[in-house]
């Protein structure tokens, strides 16, 4: 299939899918899936984010519909992702019925294990009891945990429960100590994927788009040959490469948000209906040799 044919075929899917990640020679990279003719390789995993089930405002009055279209896109992939990472804001208001609906929809995905970290919208009650009821099993109710999959070390972090007065996310001392412990004995040649809801790097401090311990976290990761750091929260793609660390921020499947600093705050952005699908999506990650390539796919 030529690139343009592939692009057309993918456009016909009409989904607001995610980001595709491929690993090539130890480094993850990301690209738009509609331009991913060269992105051969076995899909490794899928990132989906900010599904905001329960949201029902002009920015998107059918968040279940757009999540379903994203799931249809995943289910139509030639190779099923062996893992799905949800980077938080599963629900809009942490209501039990929102969690039930979201969880049922996500389980419709034909893919491997589902791993979920909470967003601040999932822990409005404080301790995140309902979130942990649904998604806390792998972490024994703590929220943060790590696991190995296909030779890659995955680390799930929670940065939405220890907010600092400046509004930045934070891990807190206990989780940071755990992270040090989790990493110190690992071989620098093992690819690492870290995922959390809020950006683990500072994108825009006035809106709290960052994590207070970002520099300490990056310092722990710098010695590794291939590190991919994923987040949601800001409902748009922003990417940064720093040495061997690739930072990547995913789209939402629910609604877009403004560019940093544009307007009064990071609330839902209302766009013309025909532009909405192009602003929603998912990310796919594909491993090739020791590198990972990321592909972002929209619902357009």
């Amino acid at each position: 299939m030529t690139d343009s044919n592939r692009r057309d075929a993918l456009k016909c899917l009409g989904v607001g899918a995610g980001t595709l990640f491929t690993m090539t020679g130890g480094v993850f990279s990301a690209f738009d899936i509609s331009e991913a003719g060269a992105a051969t390789g076995t899909p490794l995993f899928l990132q989906i984010s900010d599904t905001h089930i329960g949201f029902n405002k002009p920015a998107n009055t059918d968040v279940i519909g757009t999540l379903n279209r994203s799931i249809d896109f995943v289910n139509a992939m030639p190779v099923a992702p062996s893992l799905v990472l949800h980077t938080g804001d599963v629900t809009h208001l942490s209501k039990p019925e929102e969690f039930d609906t979201a969880h049922q929809l996500l389980l419709r995905m034909k893919a491997g294990d589902l791993h979920v970290v909470p967003g601040e919208h999932d822990v409005i009650d404080g301790p995140g009891a309902e979130f942990l009821n649904h998604f806390g099993k792998p972490s024994d109710g703590k929220g943060y945990y790590s696991f190995d999959h296909m030779g890659v070390h995955f680390i799930a972090l929670v940065n939405v429960m220890n907010f600092k007065p400046n509004g930045l996310g934070a891990l807190g001392d206990e989780q940071l100590a755990w992270l040090k412990q989790d990493l110190w004995h690992r071989s620098a040649s093992q690819p690492i994927v870290v995922f959390a809801h809020m950006p683990l790097w500072t994108i825009y401090e006035p809106w709290g788009w960052g994590t207070s311990e970002g520099e300490q976290i990056a310092a722990l990761l710098r010695r590794f040959g291939s590190v991919t750091v994923l987040n949601g929260h800001i409902h748009q793609i922003v990417q940064k490469v720093e040495g061997n660390i690739t930072f990547h921020s995913a789209r939402s499947t629910a609604y877009p948000q403004p560019l940093a600093g544009s307007g009064p705050g990071p609330g839902p952005l209302v766009v013309p209906a025909d532009q909405l699908p192009g602003m929603l999506g998912v990310t796919t990650l594909v491993a090739r040799k020791k590198k990972i390539a990321l592909t972002d796919t929209t619902l357009a």
């Binding site: 405002k57 942490s94 409005i124």
Partner: protein
């Protein structure tokens, strides 16, 4: 027993003759629109006008609303004098104060 004490305290408060000043604080554009000063016994009501949910959560844990969607309100009655600082727990850079005196 507990309810008797509370009822007693309420009677005491009304007996002092200080008039309660119920007031509303609007939440809009990711801000609590104003700091307020009220007399003891006053009820403060918050109303969220943003399309994004917010909460009203005191720093010391005295009060904490659920997630307030657009148009939702939350009320808390302040019986004791003091300076009560609070934030939105979803957007903690949103901060304001209720002073009771």
């Amino acid at each position: 027993m507990k309810s008797t004490i509370i009822a007693g305290l309420l009677m005491l408060a009304s007996a002092t003759g200080v008039r309660a000043q119920d007031t509303t604080v609007e939440i809009q554009h990711f801000m609590f629109k104003m700091d307020v000063t009220v007399t003891p016994g006053s009820t403060v009501t918050w109303k969220n006008l943003d399309g994004e949910p917010h909460t009203v959560a005191s720093i010391d844990g005295l009060f904490r609303s659920k997630g307030l969607d657009e148009g939702d309100t939350y009320s808390f009655k302040f019986d004791k004098p003091g300076v009560y600082k609070y934030i939105c727990s979803i957007h903690p850079s949103m901060r304001a104060t209720v002073t009771v005196k």
